[in-house]
């Protein structure tokens, strides 16, 4: 397990991460979502032992990770802008990973390169951004570390490759002790793959929960109520994260179980009421708006 305990990191005057605590449990895909500048990359860099937290600590299986090779052996970090040696080929990068991560499975890496249609001996500098990302992911997976930290790794991958990577992750988790941590803006992708999600905003974690639990405790409802007074009453009674009107149609996201929210709506004798499936993106937007990050205010003059 990766335990993040009261971690703080500043870059000069900028507070990148503020007293952040979360646990990343083993055997689950952890998704790290957040606004731009929320501190996702900083958190991953700290978890990879690259950055030293100013306060708090990050423990990997009970050991502090910074300047601890034993803890770092369990982690492979794929940065958002993956770096390769000048003139490197996928094959030569595999050779380097074999040195850096002795458990690196070179044969498997070769096979995966072939399956992905990536030429092993072509210079990486001639690859497209997406192809480079694929190579990074394959290197990370084949490093055979317990934790794989991917920063914006899915950006730039084509949908087929994205699905393939998801499958690889799933297969890895079945085969061995493997915990991927994926930071991304792309909620749709994370929604499909993540078991647990940490939502970062302004250097703080708004929540870190199991995705299913999150969906269980947050509901999206669309309804038409007989009058304005009942509508206001309903919004007061519920812990509403977000709501909008389209004519008389009220759409809102509120905390609570499906039963609790539906009962509250039904108590107002709605003319029409319907529970809608809640996406991760909607959860993200609702939660961040509650935390003061409103889309409408973003570009206000």
């Amino acid at each position: 397990m990766i335990e993040i305990k009261g971690v703080k990191k500043n870059f000069g005057d900028i507070e990148a991460v503020r007293e952040l605590s979360a646990d990343i449990t083993e055997g689950k895909v952890y998704g790290l979502v957040g606004t731009n500048g929320a501190g996702k990359s900083t958190l991953l860099r700290m978890a990879a032992g690259v950055l030293k937290p100013e306060e708090g600590k990050i423990l990997v299986d009970g050991e502090e990770v910074f300047e601890n090779p034993h803890a770092k052996e369990k982690i492979c970090f794929i940065a958002d802008t993956g770096w390769f040696f000048p003139n490197a080929t996928p094959e030569s990068m595999g050779n380097f990973y074999k040195i850096a991560y002795p458990a690196f499975d070179r044969k498997r890496y070769q096979r995966m390169l072939e399956h992905a249609g990536l030429p092993g001996r072509r210079k990486l500098r001639t690859f497209s951004k997406g192809m480079k990302k694929q190579v990074s992911v394959l290197l990370g997976v084949c490093a055979n570390t317990k934790y794989l930290l991917c920063d914006e790794t899915f950006d730039g991958l084509d949908p087929v490759m994205r699905q393939a990577v998801k499958k690889i992750f799933a297969a890895e988790m079945v085969d061995r002790d493997f915990t991927p941590v994926i930071a991304s803006h792309n909620m749709r992708e994370l929604e499909d793959i993540c078991d647990q999600v940490g939502l970062l905003h302004g250097g703080r974690i708004l929540f870190s929960e199991n995705l299913e639990d999150m969906k269980f405790h947050m509901q999206k409802v669309q309804c038409v109520l007989p009058d304005k007074a009942r509508e206001e009453e309903l919004l007061r009674e519920l812990d509403v994260l977000q709501f909008s009107h389209r004519g008389t149609l009220l759409t809102f996201v509120a905390r609570g179980t499906n039963l609790e929210v539906v009962r509250a709506v039904e108590s107002k004798n709605p003319i029409f009421a319907e529970a809608l499936p809640l996406t991760l993106e909607e959860i993200f937007i609702s939660a961040t708006e509650t935390a003061g990050y409103e889309v409408d205010r973003l570009f206000e003059p």
Binding site: V50, L51, E73, C76, W83, I99, P102
Partner: protein, 739 residues
């Protein structure tokens, strides 16, 4: 059992990080990988080293033999061997260039990954301690330079030197001893480049920082030397380069010939300290500083101050030189210094953050720069620290010494002609003079202190007297009771030195150290010649006799006993009977070439006066059959006469005595041809031991240069005299006639 052993071994290796049996990242494999990644540098250095060493040494050995076809074979081989060892050894500008270029390339290419965040993150996320990873590019860079160097040196020593017939065990030993030193010198420079790289992480800033670390000491020392010599009247340069701890790893190797152990120690200190600091900073270096100009931005103001102030002062000094460098123009120095420092401040800020708006950043350090750039020139211009007027209380001084040439000019001329006894081995450099002063400290220093007081007074309030004829220069070493040593150079009016000289010459300690005929090494000469003081035939070659060891020692003992007994001030005013010239004959050509590049195979070591009351010496000379009877035949072919006084003094003299064509006495002199003319000339002049009278003292200084025909089969030779005029009127008439 074997398997058990292997398992145990694996287990032991695995416990490196606390967990038995796990496979760890391999340092050696990372090292090889890094070398492979930088194979372009390896190839480049190999090509350069092959050109410089095997090809270069072949060329040098062959060139050494060219144009020496008439030289005996054995001698030619020696010349070729000497060329090989000097080329493959330590010397040569290319050597410093090679070290600097290789260190910069290896250091910067190894740590350039720190420049970009993605690269930095990649390496810092590897499961390895930072200090351990630091040594991967560090060691690989070192190997990338050293391996090709050693390979090409081996090729130069064995196939090349062997094929040219100059190989020997001594050559190989010499070359590899030099190589060991070169490797150490490279390591020192390289480790400073690494320090610069971890302090910055950026290629450009790292290069500039390397240059700063490598040259700052030299530049600062040079600037200080320049300013002191320009502005302090009593400044004495102790050859600032001797203080090798002050200087950079790049310049220190040049001291190896003079102080090998000290140089090696200094280089080891440089290497160790720079590496330790580099590792320390690398460990502490926050990963987020990638792409910053400096690892610790807080160091920028200090660096800027360290760079901008000397740049400003140097610029101001240059401006002051350009506008005329007079004391009344000191304001230009101060203004120029402040202006240049201001510009340097802006340039520094711009280099650190290339945005014109940033040049006003760090304004507090900017103010310090401005203040420093005005204050430091002011210290020099107005002697704010009282350098020139410094004179410690006698109670604080343990011992003092006065310069050899002063003692020689003002006192030693009493007993020697040229004022030096046995100094050739020490050479004439400034540093040698300071060594000489250190060796000749006297504790009974009242006379020297008196000289120092005169010097300080003259520096504070210069007298009207000026010029070589009325002033003498003197260097004085103060050894303080705390152990410190200081040397000052003074200008003192000659006429005021009498009392001090009297005190000095009456001190036993001073006489023992400053008139040390007893200390002269008998091995330093093997022949002597004796000439009469008033005989222009001088130290004629046919009069030389060879002395055995016993005779040499005996003569020196006699001279020492006699010269200590006489009153030096009295002797200064009287004329000796004879002059003994001590020679060293170099019979061995090779021995000779080690000492000289010159023309004569015979070297005058020293010359001593023999006064009438030198009883011991005269008895000793008599035993040796001296003085030999001079050849009665007049062999003086002629004499050049020229003036050593100033043009103004000579013009006044010419007007007074009706001499019209006096300028010839300044430009090359007038030639008195044949015995009769020379005889007439000698009646108007008197040979003197020193030239310090001049027109101010009522005398004129002239030089005579006699051309003398050798007796029998001997070659012609010359003799040089200093004279003053005993009969100026007739001298003027004679000159008028001849001219």
């Amino acid at each position: 059992m074997v398997m058990n052993f292997i398992d145990r071994f694996k287990s032991i290796r695995g416990t490196d990080q606390g967990r038995p049996g796990e496979r760890k990242i391999s340092f050696a494999r990372l090292l090889l990988w890094d070398i492979k990644e930088r194979s372009w540098l390896l190839a480049l250095i190999l090509v350069v080293a092959l050109v410089v060493y095997p090809a270069g040494s072949l060329m040098v050995i062959q060139l050494a033999a060219s144009g020496r076809g008439e030289m005996p074979g054995e001698m030619l081989l020696k010349v070729r061997k000497s060329a090989a060892i000097s080329y493959l050894g330590l010397t040569g500008g290319y050597y410093y260039f090679f070290i600097l270029a290789a260190a910069l390339l290896a250091g910067i290419s190894g740590y350039v990954y720190l420049e970009k965040q993605d690269r930095s993150d990649f390496f810092l996320s590897l499961p390895m301690r930072r200090e351990r990873y630091f040594f991967v590019p560090c060691l690989s860079g070192w190997l990338i330079v050293i391996c090709p160097y050693l390979v090409s040196l081996l090729l130069a020593v064995f196939p090349v030197c062997a094929s040219q017939g100059v190989f020997s065990g001594a050559l190989a030993a010499g070359v590899f001893r030099a190589a060991a030193f070169n490797i150490l010198a490279f390591s020192a420079v390289y480790s400073l480049v690494l320090l610069a790289m971890v302090l910055s992480g950026r290629m450009l800033i790292g290069t500039l920082l390397s240059v700063f670390l490598l040259f700052y000491g030299v530049c600062l020392g040079g600037l200080n030397e320049l300013l002191c010599s320009f502005f302090y009247k009593t400044w004495y340069s102790e050859n600032y380069g001797e203080n090798i701890f002050w200087f950079s790893a790049l310049t220190v190797p040049s001291y190896f010939d003079r102080a090998p152990l000290k140089t090696v120690a200094v280089l080891l200190i440089y290497t160790g300290l720079a590496l330790w600091l580099a590792v320390f900073i690398y460990r502490k270096r926050p990963a987020e500083t990638a792409e910053n100009s400096l690892t610790f931005p807080g160091t920028a103001p200090f660096l800027k101050t360290a760079v901008a102030i000397p740049v400003g002062v140097a610029g101001g000094f240059l401006l002051w030189i350009l506008v005329g460098q007079s004391e009344g123009l000191m304001g230009w120095f101060l203004f120029g210094s402040a202006a240049c420092a201001f510009i340097a401040n802006g340039v520094f800020e711009f280099v650190m953050a290339p945005d014109i708006r940033n040049i006003a950043r760090h304004w507090i350090s900017g103010l310090v720069v401005l203040l420093g750039s005005v204050l430091i020139p002011a210290v020099f211009c107005f002697d704010l620290l009282g350098y020139d007027t410094w004179l410690p209380d006698k109670s604080r001084i343990e011992a003092m010494a006065v310069s050899e040439d002063f003692a020689a000019m003002e006192l030693a001329n009493c007993d020697t002609l040229n004022g030096h006894y046995d100094r050739e081995a020490e050479g004439g450099s400034v540093s040698q003079e300071s060594l000489w002063l250190r060796k000749n400290l006297v504790e009974d220093f009242d006379g020297i202190y008196e000289l120092a007081e005169l010097g300080v007074r003259e520096a504070a309030e210069p007298s009207d007297a000026a010029g070589e004829e009325t002033m003498c220069s003197v260097r004085i070493l103060y050894k303080m009771k705390g152990g410190g040593m200081r040397i000052r150079g003074y200008q003192i009016p000659l006429e005021e030195t009498g009392e001090a000289l009297g005190k000095m010459s009456s001190t036993v300690d001073f006489r023992n150290k400053y008139y040390p005929f007893g200390q002269m090494d008998p091995e330093r000469y093997n022949r002597i010649a004796l000439s009469r003081w008033e005989d222009p035939l001088g130290e004629y070659a046919e009069n030389k006799i060879t002395l055995d060891a016993e005779q040499r020692l005996k003569l020196l003992e006699a001279l020492d006993a006699d010269s200590r007994r006489i009153d030096l001030l009295e002797a200064r005013e009287s004329s000796p009977l004879y002059v003994i010239s001590f020679y060293f004959d170099y019979d061995d050509y090779e021995e000779y070439t080690k000492v000289h590049q010159g023309f004569d195979l015979m070297d005058v070591v020293s010359e001593a006066y023999v006064y009438e009351n030198y009883e011991n010496t005269r008895a000793c000379l008599e035993e040796l059959g001296l003085p030999a009877k001079a050849d009665a035949a007049c062999r003086v072919k002629g004499a050049w006469c020229w003036s050593e006084s100033s043009q103004e003094a000579l013009a006044a003299f010419a007007e007074r005595y009706g001499l019209s064509d006096y300028e010839k006495l300044l430009d090359g002199g007038i030639f008195f041809s044949g015995g009769t003319e020379v005889e007439a000339l000698l009646e108007t002049v008197e040979r003197v031991k020193r030239r310090n009278g001049g027109s101010e003292a009522g005398t004129m200084d002239f030089g005579l240069y006699f051309q003398i025909k050798g007796a029998g089969e001997s070659e012609d030779y010359e003799t040089n005299w200093a004279v003053k005029l005993s009969d100026p009127e007739n001298f003027a008439k004679l000159v008028e006639e001849i001219a």
